[in-house]
């Protein structure tokens, strides 16, 4: 009955294809024998419509930030509810998952952080860790429950002397993915820098060596294969966000 989870053909559509399709939709919908006129105006009209939609998406970011509560916790589930197998999802296919050499790996820190020395994996693993069984909700609609283990991100930010009054935390990933989040979500008690999935070392397809897990945000906001973390007041955007997905994307 259900399609294979995590097949994200929709996401592969570029905005250009989308624009062309939308123009077709508008033409089909509005054509009252004025098709020739429309072809002439379509481009400027398109830009106007897109501007309004982008502005509304920005307004929705503000509304979501207000709805977000620093204390409200996402539901946690019993082990029996864990989804197995947990779906793979990325902007590329599962065969293209990158292989990271854990021995050479170092997590880089940047921006408004006092102690920017890079962290090796053994150093990170030595930090106190917690586990959570939470639900991952994809922007496509499907959801899946998994178990992640790692360091509370707020503890980590404090430990490295991050300026937590800054607006954004940005992530650059080894698979050329990127994303950014608001500081309030970064400090949420369920936001974890995770090294384990289902009690095992995070496998490559789920983001080895680490994934930032936030049950209060949609799946694509949870970066995998993190290379560097930076704190900033300048809006960093992100891979999907720059293509038109809503930036805050809170749950």
């Amino acid at each position: 009955m259900k399609k294979i989870m995590g097949s994200s053909f929709e996401k592969y559509r570029t905005p250009e294809v989308a624009r062309m399709e939308r123009r077709l939709f508008l033409k089909q919908g509005l054509s009252l024998g004025a098709l020739t006129m429309l072809t002439g105006c379509a481009i400027t009209e398109e830009e106007g419509v897109q501007k309004v939609l982008s502005r509304m998406s920005g307004w929705n970011d503000d509304v979501q930030a207000k709805l977000f509560s620093a204390n409200r916790l996402a539901p946690e589930f019993p082990e029996s509810r864990i989804t197995n197998p947990f779906p793979f999802n990325a902007y590329y296919s599962e065969e293209e998952v990158i292989d990271v050499d854990g021995g050479k790996y170092k997590l880089e820190l940047g921006g408004m952080i006092k102690e920017r020395k890079p962290w090796t994996l053994p150093e990170l693993y030595a930090l106190p860790q917690v586990s959570q069984i939470t639900r991952h909700i994809c922007v496509e609609g499907w959801s899946a429950i998994g178990k992640w283990t790692g360091v509370r991100f707020s503890d980590f930010l404090q430990r490295v002397g991050a300026d937590t009054t800054a607006k954004y935390v940005g992530f650059q990933c080894l698979d050329d993915y990127s994303t950014s989040i608001d500081m309030a979500t970064a400090l949420h008690p369920q936001t974890l820098l995770t090294f384990k999935f289902a009690d095992q070392l995070l496998p490559p397809k789920y983001g080895f060596p680490m994934k930032l897990r936030m049950p209060t945000k949609l799946g694509f906001k949870n970066p995998k294969h993190i290379a560097s973390i930076f704190v900033t007041n300048e809006y960093p955007g992100g891979y999907w966000e720059d293509k038109g997905y809503n930036w805050f994307s809170g749950s």
Binding site: M1, K2, K3, M5, S8, E10, K11, R13, T14, P15, V17, A18, R19, M20, E21, R22, L24, F25, Q28, V52, L53, S54, M56, S57, N60, Q64, L67, F68, S69, R72, L73, A74, P75, R135, I137, C138, V139, E140, G141, W142, S143, P215, T216, W240, K243, G244, Y245, N246, G250, S251
Partner: protein, 203 residues
């Protein structure tokens, strides 16, 4: 001599009707595109009848038009309750009267002497439409913010339950809209009245 005209729709109802028609058209056509990215059932909507071009575009339309839909809905429902418009136009209503009027409508014998008074089938359809649209807002809130509104998502089977309810409510709205448009086509003099607010007393 000019035909005798009677007032049927107050200005606020006409404005709310057309804003709602636009908002619902955007919500449904973009919603179909969102549905297509992870179909609940064994079918997808043809891309040509969806809005947004791709998932991100559809989401932008959906979450922009929701403000028009909800704000317009709040104005309309508040007016309907406070002014007595709903009570005058939609009540009383009984299951027996609905069955009777639906049956005579199906036989093509539904009386339309006074178009300022709704028959029981119309009352039922308009009431059901208002309720379904409210259900769409309530389930939509859980889909949009399943964590922040988790507590009341429990009344509708949490996030996954809300997805199905949201879909079924949409299907109900779609059905009523199709019947509604078909009835307008059958009794065309009702159409201009949704702009002018007036209608000839009889055909």
């Amino acid at each position: 001599m000019a035909p005798e005209m009677t007032k049927v729709h107050p200005l606020i109802v006409r404005i709310a009707h057309w804003l709602n028609a636009l908002a619902v058209l955007i919500m449904i056509s973009s919603g179909w595109r969102i549905y297509n990215s992870d179909p609940l059932f064994d079918f997808s909507f043809p891309d040509q009848v969806t809005l947004g071009g791709w998932l991100a575009g559809a989401l932008q339309w959906h979450f922009a038009a929701m403000w028009l839909f909800v704000l317009n809905g709040i104005v309309y429902v508040s007016y309907g309750i406070l002014s007595g418009h709903f009570r005058r136009k939609l009540l009383p209503i009984s299951p027996l009267a609905i069955l009777r009027d639906v049956a005579s409508a199906l036989r093509g014998k539904l009386a339309h002497d006074d178009l300022s008074v709704y028959n029981a089938a119309q009352r039922a359809a308009y009431l059901a439409l208002i309720l379904l649209l409210i259900v769409l807002v309530l389930t939509g809130l859980v889909l949009w913010k399943p964590v922040q509104f988790y507590w009341y998502g429990q009344f509708m089977g949490d996030y996954e339950g809300a997805r199905f309810l949201h879909f079924f409510a949409m299907a109900g709205v779609g059905f009523i809209v199709v019947v509604h448009v078909a009835m307008v086509a059958l009794v065309p003099r009702t159409f201009p009245s949704m702009f002018t607010g007036r209608i000839r007393r009889s055909a």
